[in-house]
Subunit: 237 residues, 4 copies
Amino acid sequence: MTAITTRSDVTVQLVKASATDSDVATAARVSTIGGSHERVVDLERDEGLINFLMRDRHGSPFEHTSLTFYVEAPIFVAREHFRHRAGWSYNEESGRYKQLQPVFYVPAIERPLIQVGRPGAYEFKHGSDAHFARTAANMLTAYEEAYIAYEDMLQAGIAREVARMVLPVGIYTSYYATCNARSLMHFLGLRTKSRWATFPSFPQQEIEMVAAKMEDRFAELMPITHEAYNRNGRVAP
Amino acid sequence: MTAITTRSDVTVQLVKASATDSDVATAARVSTIGGSHERVVDLERDEGLINFLMRDRHGSPFEHTSLTFYVEAPIFVAREHFRHRAGWSYNEESGRYKQLQPVFYVPAIERPLIQVGRPGAYEFKHGSDAHFARTAANMLTAYEEAYIAYEDMLQAGIAREVARMVLPVGIYTSYYATCNARSLMHFLGLRTKSRWATFPSFPQQEIEMVAAKMEDRFAELMPITHEAYNRNGRVAP
Amino acid sequence: MTAITTRSDVTVQLVKASATDSDVATAARVSTIGGSHERVVDLERDEGLINFLMRDRHGSPFEHTSLTFYVEAPIFVAREHFRHRAGWSYNEESGRYKQLQPVFYVPAIERPLIQVGRPGAYEFKHGSDAHFARTAANMLTAYEEAYIAYEDMLQAGIAREVARMVLPVGIYTSYYATCNARSLMHFLGLRTKSRWATFPSFPQQEIEMVAAKMEDRFAELMPITHEAYNRNGRVAP
Amino acid sequence: MTAITTRSDVTVQLVKASATDSDVATAARVSTIGGSHERVVDLERDEGLINFLMRDRHGSPFEHTSLTFYVEAPIFVAREHFRHRAGWSYNEESGRYKQLQPVFYVPAIERPLIQVGRPGAYEFKHGSDAHFARTAANMLTAYEEAYIAYEDMLQAGIAREVARMVLPVGIYTSYYATCNARSLMHFLGLRTKSRWATFPSFPQQEIEMVAAKMEDRFAELMPITHEAYNRNGRVAP
């Protein structure tokens, strides 16, 4: 039997991007200037314009941008990610077409494990060492048993699409995700917690790990847009 | 420990619909008549118009319809379903907000288990009794072990969103899915096999079970549209 | 030559709807209850749930609804309307397939005609009687001249799709528009002015006339949702 | 009065693109390889894969691309273009924020002017010299009268958003349009005529002029995809 591997992190790589602050300003200026698409890179003027667009929620100029990410994350994270439909495109590793590798998510020691409160107003607290140990033990056992069953079926010639049914949502998958700056900001607004947020969100920590890494790349590529986003309450325009 | 239950079927219920052949014809006629929206229910004239729209791929008139389904299916099926973004809305049972019930999918004896061929051109064949027995045994063991681990973590106070990581994609989930006739036809084109299809598709059998039940309801609600769809190669307009 | 007609209003008729507060609550409850779709019409409990969904911006439950409107409005209004892509479907009277009727928009006497300020911060003021008269006179002349040219070309056998090029954007068109409660709220947020709005918008008055009539129907069909929308700053969830 | 200008063409410029055949192949391979996103530029292998994706209508890999165009075209063309919602983003010159320039469309002498047949099955034929002269004369008169009325209102201080109501749909506008290869192929399928097309379309010639220029850029950027598109009946996957 193949030995299983565990991870407590996610991979997010920026594969390619066509996304600058200037793209936004150029597209927006067609409204008021029209008839010319000279790309005047004038970051000072762009800043005022982008702030105005963000504040008054003119969202469409932010769509003339494109960012493609490669992600490795557990299936339960991909499930939440793929709920974002508008302005997002996905291609994912397929359990029908290939054998999934035995790589599984286990929470890091810092990950709060205990849930307190009621639906819509949960808080999470750190567990004791015993909580962590019990979680890790249960997960390792369940992951191993599942993968043993999976491999046994594959060896017997059972179709991959059938055998995979036993695999847990904690197994890693990989996917490409392409978005634009507007759909990315919408995603970040729902999948991160931030003191700048006008509307608080309560994402599960593991998708927030994906979102945080995407936000880092976004902030590097489009610093003016990113700052305007924070300054205006992290509400996607 | 809670005993697990297995199922080999899916539930698809039509919760509500605002979807008739006449809706399509009425919306389409605004192009050529305009200025009046009298709903003339004249099925004979509608039939010619709907056939024309389907054949020449005028898709938008089919969008003025709405069908809401309630579905119970394994997570691996929901995962495929939720890839359909345009014209589809979803709300799903959440493993963060509630304990998932121990109901799991096991293939029925008729389900072909053996995969032959290469990516893009697979065929499925029936396995022997031994194949079926080995599949069932592996699944039952893996499902039970996973649910034992899940309940053990929940009893220890671990958050549901953490404990669920061990649950397999064969566990049942439930969701509401709302679509229109156009997005439904697109879904059916990719998720069913049919001798009427101009473009053959290769859906996994379990999502085809969902699609087939949706198609039954669709055919009852919109018989003219459904027939035109078949007659025109099951290509969504 | 056909005499032209002028209008200063818009027509918005609710053609059909499958949209109740209970639809929202039922779809939302699948997250926390799952496994049952009994539609418990319990408006008191629904109210709390819908307020929670609106406040925390859980938008998807509002999508399991459908409203179809028939609209008569000038082309410049339809142009703004059709910019709304997500969750909206349209079918419009076609200048390729039929002769457009000589019905044109002229602002009512109450419509502010004078624009003061700079891009992004305009205000509108009422003009004098002379302003109104000059506007009306210019419009009537231009509309008549355009329609004379249009009919002359049609009588000479010129294709409708060519002849229509002279028609002004003030001519009336008609269309069907289908949306769901979420996409409607997004539209209302951008196309109405309201003292309840967290984010102020600056719509042109003529599309606001369309939006206001849609909002009336919406408020009748889904009173709890509508009130929660106002109470939460008219930000579409 | 400002003299008017006429044009018989459209402007389509590729502003920027992140769109190669290799992008498609790389995204597609995650299904079968997963766990690695090395971009192996291997055009021979890409060709087979892209053909397979196109033939079997696996559309999502084509979405990890982005093309931004700047377009100058008459309003009646922009109106048709903006009907394409899925995978398209637009920003357009605004008649509310700026004075529109007096540039108008007049058909070139080669443009068929006479429409023969019935709805759904029109054919266009060349008119006589008299047809052309009558069209040109009517258009010039109507365009001039409209622009005179427009400027007269502007000079009287009437708001631009009001004065523009008299402007004809033959006036030029300008816009940015961003799409991906999949949404572009869908657009091309409906807005071009081609002997390769499985499903014939009947676009108005003026939007076909826009589509043709976009297709040229697309074919240069993604030659393998473009050829596969033609070879598979120009049906967007």
